[in-house]
């Protein structure tokens, strides 16, 4: 792609899109040059802030014609470099101005434009006694478009799964500017292949999601929070697996290890009891049965060696949750460099994974607090290092790869929710080699080739 293409693109664009939405000053470009991975930095050549579907169509039509790459961006909270251009001279398409939300309680859905934040959608539903279950910890700024494109999950994933489980329909603009609507805003429809899933997790490499119709869910009648404290991390892993194995489905099922609790105490000045591991379960159920079920979950934790407590008092519930709530802040405050891993393993392998992670930590001598949505088998080891120290940086990178290898070896996935982006390209190819068969890469590339023959959509991401 040459400067000439870009110049032509810009001159054509200025005829179709209002100038106030097009930015080329270096200060604008640099402010969009990073995401929350903070590992990759590349300013785009132009930023277009899409205010409407027409704007998106214009950009994709002209970009395709002039062969200029387009990188969609929502809240920019990706942890893997997704919205950071992998090539210079890209158009960054900021979708945050498109943020309309309409809740249709009668038909059981919320319609949200791509730039609406996940939290705003949730809030809009709550006015009607409903909620939107997927809740990435970044939900206050992560957008619906970004969350679909990353197939984001969250705490409530233990019961409610990830974004893909909540999409009824969506509209997508394809390269060339064509609009397609996939699915219908009703609870049942069938035609195949399921193209919604094609775009879920596509990380902006196929097209731009402009709006989605999302399922909503009634607010739970009652929630009781159960806390289990363990002297051995494997016991905590076992407790989580057993809770699920015996058919309990808490809304939240989280795990924290000793190092996480220590760092939370150190960096936020808390005084939480330090233990080898902590498990937090939110049991939601009708009023009459919630305490019984919470008691049973406590029993499982105790059988596995835990000490437990439970509460439905909001203040006490918050206290039980303090360590988990503060984990990200504590780690980011304490360490200027953090590589945030995101592996998933089968629940039966959770204990093994935790043990192996501990071995890696010991081998390299860097701190690596582990917390995460363990109820889904999803763990976030946070590899902490000083970025100015070459040796530490090297170790951190090796630990990152080894952590991913654990997931592959135990039959899991190298990313549970944060995606591949730029950060996990190599690991993903490893995973493919190990388990997905030689046709996988080719199949996905064929799909990419068909939808985006000129390769303008977020080039350089995943392996596309």
């Amino acid at each position: 792609m040459s400067d000439e293409n870009l110049r032509r693109f810009l001159s054509e664009l200025s005829r179709k899109v209002d100038k106030s939405k097009i930015f080329t000053e270096p200060e604008e470009l640099y402010s969009y040059s990073l995401d929350a991975s903070t590992e990759f930095k590349q300013p785009p050549a132009v930023v277009v802030r899409a205010g409407s579907e027409e704007d998106v169509r214009a950009v994709l039509e002209l970009a395709d014609r002039n062969r200029v790459p387009v990188v969609p961006r929502g809240g920019g909270t990706s942890l893997t470099g997704g919205p950071v251009p992998a090539v210079p001279n890209a158009i960054l398409l900021d979708l945050t101005p498109m943020n309309r939300i309409e809740v249709n309680v009668d038909d059981g859905y919320a319609m949200a434009e791509a730039g609406a934040t996940v939290l705003e959608v949730d809030k809009a539903c709550r006015q009607y006694g409903f909620f939107f279950p997927p809740d990435p910890a970044s939900s206050r700024i992560a957008t619906i478009g970004g969350a679909i494109a990353e197939n984001a999950g969250g705490l409530r994933g233990a019961k409610f799964g990830v974004m893909k489980n909540w999409i009824l329909a969506m509209e997508v603009i394809l390269p060339g500017g064509r609009r397609v609507r996939i699915g219908e805003p009703v609870y049942k429809w069938r035609w195949g292949p399921d193209l919604i899933s094609l775009f879920v997790g596509s990380e902006g490499t196929l097209g731009v999601i402009t709006k989605a119709w999302l399922k909503i869910y009634p607010l739970p009648e009652k929630v009781v929070r159960v806390l289990g404290v363990f002297d051995r991390i494997e016991e905590a892993g076992k407790a989580i697996a057993q809770i699920r194995r015996r058919g309990y489905v808490p809304m939240i099922l989280e795990l924290l290890d000793r190092e996480t609790i220590e760092i939370v105490n150190e960096s936020l000045g808390y005084n939480i009891e330090v233990a080898e591991a902590m498990v937090i379960a939110d049991v939601d159920a009708p009023r009459e049965s919630v305490w019984r079920i919470a008691g049973e979950v406590e029993n499982v934790m105790r059988e596995c060696g835990g000490r437990t407590s439970a509460s439905d008092d909001p203040v006490e519930m918050e206290r039980l949750y303090m360590a988990r709530q503060g984990a990200y802040a504590a780690v980011t405050r304490a360490y200027p460099g953090v590589l945030l891993e995101d592996i998933t393993v089968p629940l039966s392998k959770l204990s093994t994974a935790l043990k192996e992670l501990d071995d890696i930590r010991k081998e390299y001598g860097l701190r690596m607090p582990v917390f995460g949505h363990a109820g889904d088998g999803n763990l976030h080891p946070n590899i902490c290092f000083d970025p100015r120290d070459e040796e530490q940086l090297r170790k951190a990178r090796e630990m990152f790869l080894k952590t991913g290898e654990i997931a592959i070896r135990l039959g899991g996935a190298i990313s549970g929710e944060h995606g591949i982006g730029l950060a996990k390209k190599e690991l993903f190819l490893e995973e493919i080699k190990a388990v997905r068969g030689e046709g996988y890469v080719e199949m996905v590339r064929m799909i990419k080739q068909m939808i985006d023959p000129n390769g303008i959509m977020n080039p350089g991401k995943i392996f596309l």
């Binding site: 200060e27 640099y30 040059s33 920019g76 206050r140 700024i141 970025p387």
Partner: protein, 464 residues
């Protein structure tokens, strides 16, 4: 030497240094309110410090109103060029007084009320009249930190020379300057600084006072950012109002340490339309309380709220809390002394330490600090100026941090343009409250302004 600072900031800075207040109104008008109200000089080492804003805020209000009328015809920077010409012609203050003198009475009245209330509470104090040195806080706000340091040293010598040991002020911005900035910039600073509200709450508690307004009034209170968030003074206001018979306090949605900015913080001068938008958001929120009177404790907030209510066509009055108390002081009942515990809220992370204001030291600390930013964007969510500027990244808190980092990292961004974006911040500090990584964002913005200004200064001989 050419400067990157906009004309209007140069105008404000020069006036602050030479005349003592931002608009250059002069000592005569600044001290007029006090004649016959308060005796000269420190009494028991204590002064009532009017500062350079409160006594002439009405002129700023007038200018702010006028700006709205000429918008589109003239920029604020064009207008700033006219000021010095008018002054040279000797018609500056005369015309300003004729135009806006009457608006100013309201602000003068608040100062008189404050002194009367303090005296009625038995607080001994004097006033320095024309000897009162301006705090120079505007120099700090606009990032002219070297000039601020020089000025602050002079103020310190002068106050010490006059025997001042304790300052009581009605302006939370100067209270902040004396309590937080002076100790950082001036060696051996030992003068105590208190906001009116703190002194009044303490005295009322000590005397067990109850006041009676003699009528029923539903009021709401707008917590100024500087008072609530920066100085942590929140409980005192509620205590005071709870002791005034006849007053019903209806709190707005954003209050206390989570208060919402009213659009001042210097923005009213650099970006009046944006300031107005921020104000609009706030007055709409305040108006939802249904209160008949809005109270606050900051001259700049008073200006923004007064003009804000006017722009939504509501005739809600805005008073300084001091004026309400002055009215209620006519009917006082003394009781048992009580000792309520006022929490001193401390919501900000630790301030970064700058060894000196040299470009090297500034850039070194700014780099280390802004490198800690994880780009999570949590700070953007409640940033009032981000909202007012349609969430454009470069004019949101995360973007501002990114741009400071770019500037000190040698990315091809321009000091003048970075400064322009940093000047769109009101320094409300809402961002720092949300930052998981513990960045003192608004302080970094002030130092980032300084770095932009001093690194952008090009000596004349290098200009060609």
């Amino acid at each position: 030497m050419t400067d990157v600072i906009p004309e209007v900031v140069r105008f404000a800075a020069e006036n602050t240094k030479e005349v003592g207040d931002v608009l250059g109104i002069g000592t005569d008008k600044r001290t007029r309110w006090a004649r016959g109200i308060v005796e000269r000089g420190p009494v028991d080492g204590t002064i009532f410090y009017a500062g350079e804003m409160y006594p002439v805020m009405g002129y700023s209000e007038g200018a702010f109103r006028m700006l709205k009328r000429v918008e589109g015809l003239m920029s604020i920077n064009d207008l700033a060029k006219i000021g010095p010409i008018m002054r040279a012609l000797g018609i500056y203050t005369v015309s300003i007084n004729a135009l806006w003198g009457s608006i100013n009475r309201k602000y003068e009245r608040a100062l008189q009320d404050a002194v009367n209330v303090l005296k009625a509470l038995g607080v001994s104090l004097g006033y320095l009249f024309e000897d009162e040195p301006p705090s120079g806080v505007a120099l700090h706000t606009y990032g002219l930190l070297r000039e601020f340091k020089e000025h602050a040293d002079w103020v310190h010598r002068r106050l010490r020379g006059l025997g001042v040991k304790k300052i009581i002020t009605l302006d939370p911005i100067v209270a902040t300057a004396f309590r937080l900035y002076y100790p950082e910039f001036v060696r051996d600073w030992s003068i105590e600084s208190h906001h009116f509200v703190e002194v009044v709450a303490d005295r009322m508690a000590e005397l067990g006072l109850r006041l009676n307004l003699g009528r029923k009034l539903r009021v709401t209170y707008h917590d100024p950012c500087y008072l609530a968030r920066t100085l942590g003074v929140v409980d005192e206001v509620r205590f005071i109002l709870s002791r005034v018979e006849g007053v019903e306090l209806i709190e707005p949605a954003r209050r206390g340490v989570l208060t919402g900015c009213s659009g001042d913080g210097g923005l009213e001068l650099t970006q009046p339309p944006v300031a107005r938008k921020v104000a609009l958001d706030r007055v709409e929120e305040l108006s939802k309380t249904g209160a008949e009177l809005v109270l606050t404790s900051c001259p700049a907030c008073m200006l923004m709220l007064r003009t804000g209510f006017e722009s939504i066509g509501q005739s809600v009055d805005v008073w300084d809390l001091a004026s309400l108390l002055a009215e209620a002081m006519n009917n006082v009942e003394r009781g048992e002394s009580i000792s309520p515990s006022f929490r001193r809220y401390n919501v900000f992370p630790k301030s970064p330490h700058f060894r000196s204001l040299s470009l090297r030291d500034l850039s070194e600390v700014l780099k280390v600090e802004t490198d800690r930013c994880k780009k999570c964007g949590f700070c953007n969510v409640e940033c009032p100026t981000s909202k007012a500027m349609d969430r454009l990244e470069s004019r949101s808190s995360r973007g501002r941090v990114t741009l400071i980092n770019s500037l000190v990292s040698g990315d091809p961004v321009r000091p003048r343009e970075v400064l322009d974006r940093l000047y769109t911040c009101v320094l409300c500090g809402r961002c720092s409250q949300e930052c998981p990584a513990g960045l003192h964002v608004q302080e970094l913005i002030v130092y980032g302004r300084a770095y932009s200004i001093y690194s952008g200064r090009i000596p004349e001989e290098l200009l060609d």
